[in-house]
């Protein structure tokens, strides 16, 4: 049994039988899958049979804290939640920070596995090695914030993961709200939680986590901190957070604007300029152990939404509502608040609303069907529609199914559904900018999502088309190359200093594995961290924290292992090579004078499969790759 670094146990709760048991972690399992998404990949793969109904009682829902969570390692705060996704029917998974993971580990568990389904609403209370399944009839129907209020009064100092009305009503893209302002949002984990009649998971712990070598861990934390602080991305991120990407991507006409029809709204730069955002932002808020504190505290001090106070101005929701649906800055904050209370994935709900407006404009959805007029930029109508969706009222019932399913009802509606593999595409429009980041949307295990593949040294200043579609501009001095923690041979393949380019296929392979490693260890993927923290320092930290000696290669192999396992899960669930494609619009309609070339993209995909050691023709992991990763028994 593992007693250092890890809490040492997995809590398994069977909601059908209203029982729980604690299972000790085995060292080999920790070596092979590390924690966080790694644990989830293995458990979901082993225990969710092919063809399981994502909203049926056979699906399971896992919360796993990353290995380094609860330590002083900078940004180690993140917890991964996974299940079979009701959006994609594939591997569903989502990652969130704040303090939930720290409390989960302090309560004695690295992971929580929820199986079965309760007959009536319940919530789960976990404290210091014990779990209680409690009646939630009193809070069922309340929004997430009310639920959290109630729980925090009942259990002071606790952390709460909860669902709002969207999750209760099985809105497919419902999120699990992580305390008030954060969420495990993507791929509909909240709907899975709702399908189990599980309203909330409350954790509180005082057990502590014992590092194998406290002094060394503090030293390595310092080293990691200095690395992060030395990144050129550090200062901008510290002061302005993820909103840094908002203006450059607008300039490139590479934003989702009005349902991916424009590249950038004409007044985007005026309405969402830094000076506008700064009017409402105060102070910084950090997740556990974060030295960056990228989140802003937002207070709307004038206008219709005066008095609104929350943690916000994260770029993804801001673009989703502000640009994708054309809402005002204040309306965007309101939409974020509503999403948090109702428990929506803000990317998906923004995508659904944008599609609905487009279908309305195309005359496919009538005013009678909605009950009111819809338009891009009509804050009131958009908020009203979101309310209908959360409660599955009127057309909201259909829109609660997500763009992929809802569009299929309307003849020709599919062309307005902006998704990959059933999941709404966030924020960035690949037509405006060819990059590892946008390419990653195609290869993402989750479907249309931008958070599992990002070039650790992306230069947001440049967007030149002189490079061929396989490359993006590197754009930094050689020192950036030197300081990138990446095996030399792979680095040489990925980055061509002479021509100042980065190879998208090879970099995607590396970036996906690196981010998967971060999601296993619970470290944040914010640019300054992803840039400077690599497997070398992580291996040192992992070893002194857990007492399990690993080297950088082993760590990367573990991350690659769980990525492949998730791919195997997707293939078992019927994912086809042709599913890795963007909406037709991206190939057919121009934005900023550019559209995608399908053949070229296919070529990059093949190169990516090759880099991954997968079959170039089918996109399936080869036997050799699986044997190399020790996954031979999982070969399909």
């Amino acid at each position: 049994m593992i007693t250092t670094g890890y809490a040492g146990s997995i809590l398994e709760v069977d909601l059908s039988k209203l029982e729980y048991r604690s299972v000790a972690l085995a060292e080999q399992f920790c070596r092979d899958y590390l924690g966080g998404i790694g644990f989830n990949a293995r458990i979901v793969y082993d225990r969710v049979p092919a063809g399981t109904d994502p909203l049926g009682k056979e699906n399971l829902l896992i919360f796993s804290a990353g290995t380094m969570v609860g330590s002083t390692f900078p940004t180690a705060s993140r917890t991964e939640v996974s299940a079979k996704s009701p959006m994609t029917g594939l591997f569903g998974t989502s990652n969130s920070g704040m303090f939930f993971g720290t409390h989960l580990k302090n309560s004695g568990f690295d992971s929580l596995v929820v199986i079965g389904k309760s007959d009536s609403p319940v919530y789960l209370y976990i404290e210091d090695g014990k779990a209680e399944i409690k009646d939630a009839s009193g809070i069922w129907g309340k929004d997430s914030w009310e639920t959290i209020d109630t729980m925090k009064k009942l259990y002071p100092g606790c952390e709460v993961a909860s669902i709002g009305p969207a999750g209760e009503n099985l809105v497919r893209y419902a999120c699990i709200e992580n305390s008030y302002f954060d969420a495990w949002a993507r791929t509909g984990m909240g709907a899975v939680m709702g399908s189990k009649n599980l309203k909330a998971v409350v954790v509180r712990g005082t057990r502590g986590i014992k590092p194998d070598n406290p002094e060394r861990l503090i030293e390595i934390s310092w080293k990691a901190r200095q690395l992060i602080e030395s990144s050129p991305f550090f200062t901008p991120f510290k002061s302005y957070g993820s909103m840094n990407a908002a203006m450059p991507y607008g300039n490139f006409k590479a934003l989702n604007a009005n349902n991916f029809s424009q590249g950038c709204l004409p007044d985007w730069k005026d309405n969402f300029a830094r000076s506008q955002v700064d009017k409402y932002t105060y102070g910084h808020i950090a997740c556990q152990s974060c030295i960056i504190a990228c989140a802003h505290w937002v207070e709307i001090k004038e206008g219709k939404y005066k008095g609104l106070r929350m943690k916000d101005m994260e770029v993804t929701p801001t673009v989703s509502f502000g640009s994708g649906c054309g809402m005002s800055l204040e309306g965007t904050v309101k939409a974020c608040e509503m999403s948090q209370r109702y428990g929506f994935d803000m990317v998906s709900v923004g995508g659904v609303v944008a599609m609905a407006i487009e279908l309305y404009n195309r005359g496919l959805i009538s005013k009678e069907e909605i009950g009111y007029e819809m338009a891009f930029g009509d804050d009131d109508a958009i908020l009203r529609l979101m309310d209908d969706i959360a409660h599955r009222r009127g057309i909201g019932d259909l829109l609660a199914e997500g763009v992929w399913r809802a569009a299929s009802i309307y003849e020709g509606g599919e062309s307005s559904a902006m998704h990959v593999k059933g999941l709404e595409i966030p924020m960035i429009d690949p037509r405006g900018r060819t990059s590892t980041w946008s390419f990653g949307i195609l290869t993402n295990i989750r479907g249309g999502d931008h958070l599992r593949c990002r070039n650790p040294i992306e230069n947001l200043r440049y967007n030149e088309k002189k490079h061929q579609f396989r490359k993006e501009r590197f754009g930094f001095d050689p020192q950036m190359y030197e300081t990138l923690d990446m095996p030399e041979s792979l680095k040489a393949q990925a980055i061509d200093l002479e021509n100042d380019t980065t190879d998208i296929a090879v970099m995607s392979y590396w970036a996906e594995n690196l981010i998967n490693l971060f999601n296993s260890l619970g470290v944040c993927i914010r640019p300054p961290v992803e840039h400077r923290i690599g497997p070398t320092v992580l291996a040192e930290a992992f070893a002194v924290f857990t007492g399990i000696e690993v080297d950088a290669d082993e760590l990367m192999r573990a991350a690659e292992r769980s990525w492949n396992l998730m791919k195997l899960f997707n293939l078992r669930e019927g994912e086809k090579i042709e599913d890795s494609k963007f909406p037709r619009r991206f190939y057919e309609e121009e934005v900023g004078g550019r559209k995608l070339d399908e053949t070229q993209l296919q070529e990059v995909l093949k190169l990516y499969y090759q880099a991954r050691g997968w079959d170039m023709g089918t996109g399936v992991p080869t036997a050799a790759k699986l044997i190399e990763l020790g996954l031979d028994r999982d070969w399909l």
Binding site: K153, L154, P156
Partner: protein, 417 residues
């Protein structure tokens, strides 16, 4: 060189001696003590009985500590009388003259004059020797008379020692002076869960037995036992004071002015033997508690060397652990506030329970079971007489809240913040 004599070697007396020494290295300080031991914590006597701490750990000072501070201590001596005119303390071992006298004579266990209270097997709970005697007696079946915090703690400690324990309280509830019936009922439940029998509303009528305690008779029943522990209250020790013409107040304790001086100039008094002003009500009251005694010792000590310090009043602050669960009471109870418009704010979470008593928008008392975090802020609000309306204003405004951050932990008890 001024000569100061302190009668008593408890919390008040020692604190007085320490503070005088701190201010005036040259003063001649003499302490006269009845007991033959250096200062120890009377509060921890039940912990010593239960075995939670050792006998050595009880002692706050060693004899050498007195020498180090150049304090002359005369122990094991009874003071016969005070000759205030001659400024003389008359003891069985000779006379001691003083320039200033501090009376910190403390209190003694109140033993009701019931038949049999002098049979072997009856014990008071006041001194370390009392506990030594109880331990030597090896009690098997004990009746604890009185259910103040000492009574409750003694009952729990005896239980931990494996005794069969019965707690008998004359009033209708346990802990009547520091808990309201609602909270007291919960604590009673904790005691009975752990196997202590509790009888309230029963007066102890007699102790009987051949040559030692065999049973007690209450107003309701007869209880067989081999030990009776008396915790039915304390009486201030005022005999030598009253004989010397020092004024005794209505509550039977030495009357003092705000500077803790008695009606005899140069004679100060502090600790359990005085009638102090209650900090919250401003009325004379007896709050015979360790923290109050220490503060009074400080004030008396300072005033007797010429530093003018007015005593701000005593406040009740009692904490205790009942079978691992912390219980706390601060300020006044509802009974003590009778006649005033008391607003009760109660709360409960995860087995912990609290009860706040508000009068005129201010906290006047609080009782808590199973929770102590955040009570410091409540205590500060109570002492500073903070208006709850102001508090709510502060916690709902981030800017104010930031500037008065120390109050925030109290929010959870007041459904604010």
């Amino acid at each position: 060189m001024v000569s100061i004599v302190i009668v008593g070697n408890g919390a008040a007396g020692n604190r007085a001696a320490e503070i005088i020494r701190g201010y005036d290295p040259g003063a001649a300080i003499t302490m006269v003590a009845r007991e033959e031991s250096p200062e120890y914590s009377a509060c921890a006597l039940p912990d010593y009985l239960s075995g939670w701490i050792s006998r050595e750990q009880l002692f706050i000072k060693q004899w050498s500590d007195y020498r180090k501070s150049n304090i002359n201590i005369i122990s094991g001596v009874n003071v016969a009388r005070i000759d205030a005119g001659q400024k003389l303390l008359v003891t069985e071992q000779g006379d001691i003259s003083y320039d200033r006298l501090i009376l910190a004579t403390g209190s003694r266990t109140f033993l009701p004059p019931v038949p049999g209270h002098d049979l072997p097997g009856n014990f008071a709970v006041k001194t370390v020797t009392d506990i030594d005697a109880i331990m030597a007696h090896r009690p098997q079946r004990a009746v604890v008379v009185g259910s103040g915090n000492i009574g409750v703690e003694m009952a729990a400690s005896l239980k931990v020692r494996g005794c069969q324990v019965t707690l008998v309280e004359m009033r209708g509830q346990i802990l009547p002076r520091i808990f309201d019936p609602e909270s007291a009922g919960r604590i009673r439940g904790m005691l009975t869960t752990h196997g202590i029998r509790v009888f309230t509303g029963e007066e102890l009528m007699a102790v009987s037995g051949c040559d030692r305690v065999e049973k007690v008779s209450t107003s309701q029943q007869v209880i067989a036992c081999d030990t009776v522990v008396w915790a039915a209250g304390m009486k201030p020790e005022v005999e030598i004071a009253s004989q010397a013409g020092i004024e005794i107040g209505e509550l039977g304790a030495i009357k003092v002015d705000p500077f803790l001086q008695t009606n005899r100039p140069g004679i100060y008094a502090c600790g359990d033997c005085i009638e102090a002003v209650d900090m919250l009500t401003g009325m004379p009251a007896q709050r015979m508690l360790w923290p109050n005694a220490k503060r009074q010792g400080e004030v008396a000590g300072l005033n007797c060397i010429g530093c003018q310090v007015a005593y701000e009043g005593a406040i009740s602050l009692v904490t205790s652990e009942v079978f691992g669960v912390p219980v706390a009471s601060m300020g006044l109870t509802a009974a003590a506030l009778t006649g005033q418009p008391v607003q009760v704010v109660e709360g409960e979470c995860q087995g912990s329970h609290w009860r706040l008593l508000l009068v005129d928008d201010r906290i006047m008392g609080m009782q808590a079971i199973g929770i102590t975090a955040g009570l410091g802020a409540v205590m500060a609000m109570m002492k500073n007489r903070v208006l709850i309306t102001d508090f709510r204003k502060i916690v709902s405004d981030p800017e104010l809240a930031q500037r008065a951050a120390w109050y925030l932990p109290a929010g959870r008890f007041l459904n604010a913040g």
